[in-house]
Amino acid sequence: MKWPAMGYARARSLAELWSALEGHGDAAQIIAGGQTLLATLAFRLSEPGTLIDITGIAELHGISNSGQVLRLGALTLHADLCSNPLVKAHAPLLAAAAPLIAHPAIRNRGTLGGSLAYADPAAELPACMVALDATIIAASAKGERRIPAAAFFTDLLQTALEPQEIIAAVEIPVTQRLGAIEEITRRSGDYAMAGLAATLALEAGRIVAPRFVYFGVGNIPVLAAAASRALEGRSLDKASISAAQAALTEDLDPPRDLHGPPEMKRHLARVLTERVLLGFLNPKVQAA
């Protein structure tokens, strides 16, 4: 359908943004890449009010490495995540995840901030941020807030952002941890039927601080505490894989969707668990 009538304003700085949000109140909606917002408006289910375009705000752009932390501006494009050398070097999980997002034309305009703010439960980047133990930097007229990714996604399509607050950047700790992402999609670029973004450290063959985050299996990315506990301190082998799979029953309560019943997602999550762990075990095998 054609978009309903709406307003449009460009904010050229954060100061202009705060004053525009103040001025339009509830009628204001932030637009960055628009790849989710504008598709949603086509369903003509909501009244958009005034779209405030933030793509010109310089403070929201940029990728930098402080040594401790990789900082990604909210307006980082998915395409940038695919190709940026700092991302490849310091957050290879994101470099691996971004090519899975939709298709090149979408990736050339869709933003990291948009993906995180819309919090689609089947999207890759929210799960990756939880797996990376990233921090979302939220900004508003009142200043900045630092929100751990694990606390950022609160419910179906809901985040911890307050009204008139935006994502300004994401900070990812630079570590030597291993990361992997696997998803099961009907077609390349589709939202996942089930997916897993995982990070862990291997010290003397033992798993340390695993963060297994499943997506497409619930309202929000699920940081599987039980499965992670089942792996903690163990060596990576068939037995620990089985233990993690078994523990998942505690972590997951998937919904039914067009792809299948809850048990299917549970099953696929177990399959992903095995594949990701085997990938850590034998990276060459995984690549084949």
Partner: protein, 157 residues
């Protein structure tokens, strides 16, 4: 109404647009450039793919109002430039277009693949085109045409 001045196919264009106007309707209705097509208006089918500021994007998911200062190239402009005349000739030779409705978006996407340089395999070509729906060809002839072009440009894997 939002005033915008942008470049479309190398020509400077100044218009006032309603915020609700997407780029495809701006091109088709305001500028009469009907080569760009809308197939779904929710960003999935790829028929609307065109070049904005040098990169392919979904024209149906872009507000015309946001394009002040932008550079837009449509299938008409791409054709006139001759940049992918070899690809287009390959499409003709391979019958990679049947009804033609997906073709402008498909050519723009393939053009970006070619512009990236590199020597993609057939599988990589298929992957790159995986966001462009074609109902008629079953894709094989399109992949053939892209591969033929790569070969003639000396970019074989």
């Amino acid at each position: 109404m939002i005033p915008i001045t942008l470049t479309v196919n190398g020509e400077k264009v100044s218009r006032h647009v309603e915020p609700r106007r997407h780029l495809i309707d701006f091109l088709r209705l305001d500028l009469g450039l009907t080569g760009s097509h809308a197939g779904c208006e929710h960003g999935v089918c790829g028929a609307c793919t065109l070049r904005v500021n040098g990169k392919i994007m979904r024209g149906c998911l872009i507000l015309a109002a946001s394009l002040d200062g932008a550079d837009v190239v449509t299938i008409e402009g791409l054709s006139e430039s001759g940049e992918v005349a070899d690809l287009q000739a390959a499409f003709v030779a391979r019958n990679a277009a049947q009804c033609g409705f997906c073709t402008p978006g498909m050519v723009m996407t393939a053009a970006e693949l070619l512009a990236e340089g590199g020597s993609p395999t057939r599988g990589e070509i298929r992957e790159y085109l995986s966001g462009n729906y074609c109902r008629c060809t079953g894709y094989q002839a399109i992949v053939d045409a892209v591969e033929d072009t790569l070969r003639s440009r000396g970019a074989t894997p």
